[in-house]
Symmetry: C2
């Protein structure tokens, strides 16, 4: 199968991290995350959002949205809880990540570290940074006394939240005070078969 992706995108890293844990082979095709002019040509018909990650199965069927791709491969694995309520809790954190976490922490990181033009976003950075810190505080509170976001095992919730949290410093976020987050980041990275974002 083929994964259209970017090496710096946390959304793409989520998919690569899960596929590494599951030991599934795939081909990578890198798209530019700054110059997106080729997206309609390359991803048209494959993903309505014209974004990476986009996955194409060997039979030609395609999927967009990191959360949906993770679900497709995660179902039935140790990364999706067998309990119905815990599955819903996992999805709660996955939707929270896409609605609150990514549009703050990933966006500020992109502006500062990858856009090539951080000045252009300066007027929106204060508000997005404050939103990012609210997300980090909510994560840290939840993690106090817990090893993983849902239940007693690592799940897709941990994978999606790890992706942009562990590189939040590239967006100027200071994680020093978030002890529970730091312990959890180390826990995720210590799992067998873990791969880094630049692998």
């Amino acid at each position: 199968m083929l994964l259209y992706e970017s090496p710096v995108s946390g959304n793409c890293y989520k998919v690569r991290l899960l596929l590494a844990h599951l030991g599934l082979p795939y081909e990578r095709r890198t798209l530019d995350v700054v110059d997106r002019s080729d997206r309609p040509e390359v991803l048209g018909g494959l993903n309505p959002a014209l974004r990476v990650p986009t996955l194409v199965l060997d039979d030609g069927r395609s999927l967009g949205e990191s959360g949906a791709i993770l679900w497709y491969f995660g179902e039935g694995s140790r990364f999706v809880p067998t309990d119905r309520f815990e599955r819903a809790q996992m999805l709660q954190w996955m939707f929270f990540e896409q609605y609150d976490h990514e549009p703050a922490i990933a966006v500020v990181r992109f502006w500062l570290a990858y856009s090539g033009n951080p000045e252009a976003f300066e007027d929106r950075r204060t508000e997005r940074t404050a939103a990012g810190y609210r997300v980090l505080a909510a994560m840290n509170s939840h993690l106090v006394g817990r090893s993983w976001f849902v239940g007693d095992a690592m799940s897709l919730a941990d994978i999606v939240l790890y992706a942009y949290t562990h590189v939040a410093d590239e967006g100027g976020f200071d994680l020093t005070l978030y002890d529970a987050i730091n312990a959890w980041l180390a826990r995720v990275a210590a799992e067998p078969a873990h791969v880094t974002i630049d692998a």
Copy 2:
């Protein structure tokens, strides 16, 4: 069970619409969507995002994020496909709705119709409106030749996309040219047990 919600929120309507289809009884508690000062007190410990909808089960366990609540009740019902790939496609549209559709169409609708202060958002409205029209165009293209977003039956994907699309006119969006969207909106509303957003 208890649903913290708002009568004008499409995210809350998604939950009410599914529960109506499933015939499940629940209690409603309305929170203000403009003055959110009571949110930490009311929703603290129930939902890390401090947003509606928040669901509290009879045993006290709680869930946030409309997509996660829908999944919890939808699993095993006719609104979640039995095919693994179709389940992932459904989640693709659900994540697309929360990442692309809601932050454009729902946000502009809120600014214009419910914020009480539309002028304050005037500088961001043009960009958000353009983003909304890109979403509508992607939805319309996908629906040409299809009755439902995924497979051959109504699913959670249709419920989440219906919620803010059918009131997009309150955000100034003109749906006239989107024939496939209009036929699909009528199809959703014609389902037995359908309820309106103001029900």
